[in-house]
């Protein structure tokens, strides 16, 4: 499970494996758990995944980026229970020049958002929970327990 982690992600460690003397530029994206969403106070969340596909899809995305730009890419997505401020996802792209590093990094995070089968269940201040659903107006749908 090279690209999925059930424990805390360290972006610096992810990046250090990609450094080399001929790479002059490194761009790192880190997504962190925010304390609000859709106007509600978030207290934490849980990520679940279709793990074998998520792993393969992450590997495909990294391979695509490395084929398209002269860059080396690292990608790790967190799974399990996260608190506010925890790292949800980290992408590092290193390259000889900054254009490739920026573009490869951006490509990877955008692709992760739309292709990797990961789901987010948020917990709120009032104890309720909801599934994050970017396709709905409110951004979340109630969990089955809340709906019944």
């Amino acid at each position: 499970m090279a690209h999925l982690s059930h424990s805390a992600i360290d972006a610096a460690t992810l990046g250090s494996g990609l450094q080399s003397a001929e790479r002059g530029a490194s761009v790192t994206f880190v997504g962190l758990v925010r304390d609000h969403h859709g106007g509600r106070r978030v207290t934490g969340l849980a990520y679940s995944a279709y793990e074998p596909m998520a792993e393969e899809e992450c590997a495909r995305i990294v391979a695509e980026a490395e084929a398209r730009w002269p860059a080396s890419v690292g990608l790790t997505h967190r799974l399990g229970s996260l608190e506010i401020g925890d790292v949800a996802v980290a992408v590092v792209a290193t390259a000889a020049h900054r254009e490739a590093a920026f573009e490869a990094c951006r490509y990877v995070i955008e692709a992760v958002k739309v292709r990797v089968p990961v789901w987010k269940r948020e917990r709120y201040e009032d104890g309720s929970e909801a599934w994050v659903d970017p396709t709905t107006a409110g951004g979340t749908v109630p969990t089955a327990a809340s709906a019944e």
């Binding site: 679940s48 089968p117 970017p134 089955a144």
Partner: protein, 88 residues
């Protein structure tokens, strides 16, 4: 005397997140009449209890790759029905 029955396939279906909650399970086996597609799986799921809460055209994957409703299935394929993605 022999009776010829229509050919069928057996597939494994995985459900995740809200869809697993709706259908009350995260994995099931289905026996489908040939020719079977991703749409056949979705139709079978929507005919189950609470199945109408699934969208008519959910995102699906066959054997770890996104697939369209028309994707033809074979025996032992793994079909995953995926709620809207929320990673990253």
């Amino acid at each position: 005397m022999t009776v010829s029955s229509p050919p069928t396939i057996r597939v494994r279906v995985l459900l995740f997140a809200r869809y697993a909650e709706i259908l009350g399970t995260d994995a099931l086996e289905l026996i489908l009449a040939e020719p079977a597609t991703v749409a056949s799986v979705v139709a079978a799921l929507r005919s189950r209890r609470n199945g109408h809460l699934l969208p008519p055209h959910p995102l699906c994957a066959v054997n770890l790759r996104q697939a369209s409703a028309a994707t033809r299935l074979g025996s032992h394929d793994e079909i995953a029905v995926l709620p809207p993605l929320a990673g990253g």
